[in-house]
Amino acid sequence: MINELKKLMKIQGVSSREDKVAAYIEEAVKPYVDEIKRDPLGNLICLKKGTSKKAKKIMLCAHMDEIGFMVNCIQDNGIVRVSRVGGINYIAYSNSRVVFENGAVGVLVPEGKTELKDYNGDKFYVDLGVKTKAEAERRVKLGEMCSVESGIVKLYGTKYAGRPFDDRIGCYVMIEIAKKLGKCKNDVYFVFSVQEEVGCRGSHAASYNVLPDIGIAFDVTPSGDVVNPSTNFSVKLGDGAAIKIKDSSVMCDRALVAAMFEAAKANNIKHQTEVLTYGGTDTSSMQTVAGGSRAGCISIPTRFCHTQNEIVDMKDVEACIDLGVLCCSFDL
């Protein structure tokens, strides 16, 4: 099980360049679904047909993309300038190894005199170890994307550190749901979306293509059990699946949230309540696109989101999978 997750985490997919991730997931879910398609933005939409004639459309959604950078200038001395793709914390990523789409490796560093408070994209560059523009251009092209080196390591017990758990862990949860689901009365759409990190763009198009009755996102949420958290969150690592009430992009459907709590309690699935004061997920697009849907989110508690070492507990992940399977039979 953990080996599959490791593989999924190793595949690069910066926003808009998710094709390799999609190819892997397509292979993984193929035996468990009836129809597979990619839409014009690249969303991977997999349908498992329901057994009931009055089947509801349930859309499960996790995003395939990760945050990264795009090459926007190659300078005469071979210095490569990059723009951020998604919410980059430059302090966390300073002096990290970055890997490009074609496999080239460089180091992301700030200009020498930059003070910590002035860290931003214009002050950073990638050192490829080259001396000239021509050498740099042999390795990377304008418009090419890169991300900070990926991969995970085991910590204590069932906890793992690495990147990009945001949101390959959500994709992993959905792949496992597909495997476990068996017969279900509802039509279940497993949507692996693109471009979430740049503003939930993929799920916007995907929701229009699916027009779900119920939409449930699977994404990471910050865990509050760190030293001096910037804001107070009640979510803790190891306390189970986090049922989202709100984030700054969405107020989740009350009936759906209630049904999630009920299902979790009735089946002894460890769960907790998430009230997030910032952030956004694909939940918001599912709720509002076209005629809208009942939308909610099952979050995987994650410490240090958007850094090289996001930490998750596999016990929480299993709780999310179990709760996700139950949600597929909802009739709201």
Binding site: Q75, R81, G143
Partner: protein, 353 residues
């Protein structure tokens, strides 16, 4: 009318966000009888269709609105206070001449004033005057006199001549995005004059409200549900003194920009390469837009109707959103040539995603 002569006519028209009627009228007159179908929606987007050989739809779009101001108050002395409609650098406003009015109303002249320098405190002198400390002087005697010609809710746009100067440069207001509108008209004219039946079913869309909310493009894309979209824009580039190399987005004189990424869209790399490749193949100057800033109608279009594959092409423009936007005339014509190549391309030649 054609080329930069048409551009001049369009740029000098009065058309702030949600008040694009004058621009729409010029376009409708220009295109009269040269299309198969025409549609105007409830907020004012104008769509002109030229039927193609296939049923694949291409949306070619440019927005008609320009950045402007809205009159929000008139004081007892007859001075007007205002709010920006669209994004402004406050520093470009002070001292500017304006046209004030609304659709169907006679426009009057005014100018943006603020406290004279010898009356400013030491602190005030160090900073740009904030927008709520500026006002418009229309030479009115008092409030009643001002209200005879201006109402709260009226608009103001820059009063700025269209001039040609230097080594083939043009200066005007509202280049963003009358330039896109003008190029679209040129394409329609070219197709009409040469009696061409395009491969794609072409929808020429002149959208409203890009500068605030991009509503027009969203509605239009949802209505058309295109297979491919080409957005024509003018874009800030910073090829000027004092800007380091890696913050320069593009250069005037090097042809239209094809955007890699902006704050609203990450453009599909296969389509970026397709557009730049067409330029190379036909000897048309073009360049990638490198530095990431701003956004366009593409941000709404590519997410609409279940996802639309979108190309953004923009004319490099200095001092955008000011009374004096500057472009190189040759870039206009290179942009027309490249946009025409894309408009006339066959769906079979567009790379799959």
């Amino acid at each position: 009318m054609k080329g930069t002569a048409l551009l001049e006519k369009l740029c000098t028209a009065f058309g702030p966000t949600s008040c694009e009627y004058e621009v729409a009228k010029i376009i409708a007159e220009e295109l009269e009888g040269k299309y198969d179908e025409e549609y105007t929606d409830f907020i004012g987007d104008r769509i002109f269709r030229i039927k193609g050989k296939t049923d694949k739809k291409m949306m070619l779009s440019a927005h008609m609105d320009e950045v402007g101001l809205m009159i929000s108050d008139i004081d007892d002395n007859g001075y007007l206070y205002f709010q920006p409609v669209g994004g402004f650098d406050v520093k470009v406003l002070c001292g500017r001449k304006l046209f004030i009015g609304d659709f169907g109303k006679e426009k009057i002249s005014g100018l943006i004033a603020s406290k004279a320098i010898h009356q400013q405190s030491y602190e005030e002198r160090k900073k740009a005057t904030p927008i709520d400390k500026m006002f418009i002087d229309i030479g009115a005697k008092d409030k009643a006199d001002a209200e005879a010609s201006v109402q709260i809710g009226d608009y103001a746009v820059f009063d700025s001549d269209f001039i040609r100067f230097g080594d083939g440069y043009i200066k005007s207001k509202a280049i963003d995005d009358r330039l896109g509108c003008s190029v679209l008209c040129d394409i329609v004219n070219y197709i009409y004059e040469n009696k061409i039946t395009p491969e794609y079913d072409l929808y020429f869309c002149f959208t409203v409200r890009e500068e605030v909310g991009r509503t027009g493009a969203l509605i239009t894309a949802n209505r058309i549900k295109p297979d491919l979209a080409l957005v024509l824009e003018s874009t800030a580039i910073a090829d000027i003194a004092g800007t380091p190399e890696h913050k320069r987005a593009a250069k005037t004189g090097d042809g239209p920009c094809v955007s890699l990424m902006d704050l609203g869209t990450v453009y599909e790399s296969a389509l970026v390469n397709f557009a730049l490749g067409l330029g190379k193949k036909h000897g048309i100057k073009c360049q990638p837009k490198k530095y990431v800033a701003g956004g366009t109608d593409a941000g709404k279009i590519h997410k609409a109707a279940g996802g639309v594959r979108t190309i953004n092409m923009a004319c490099p423009t200095r001092y955008i959103h000011s009374a004096s936007c500057v472009i190189k005339e040759s870039d206009y014509y290179e942009m027309f040539k490249l946009a025409l190549q894309i408009a006339l391309t066959s769906p079979d030649d567009v790379p799959e995603r």
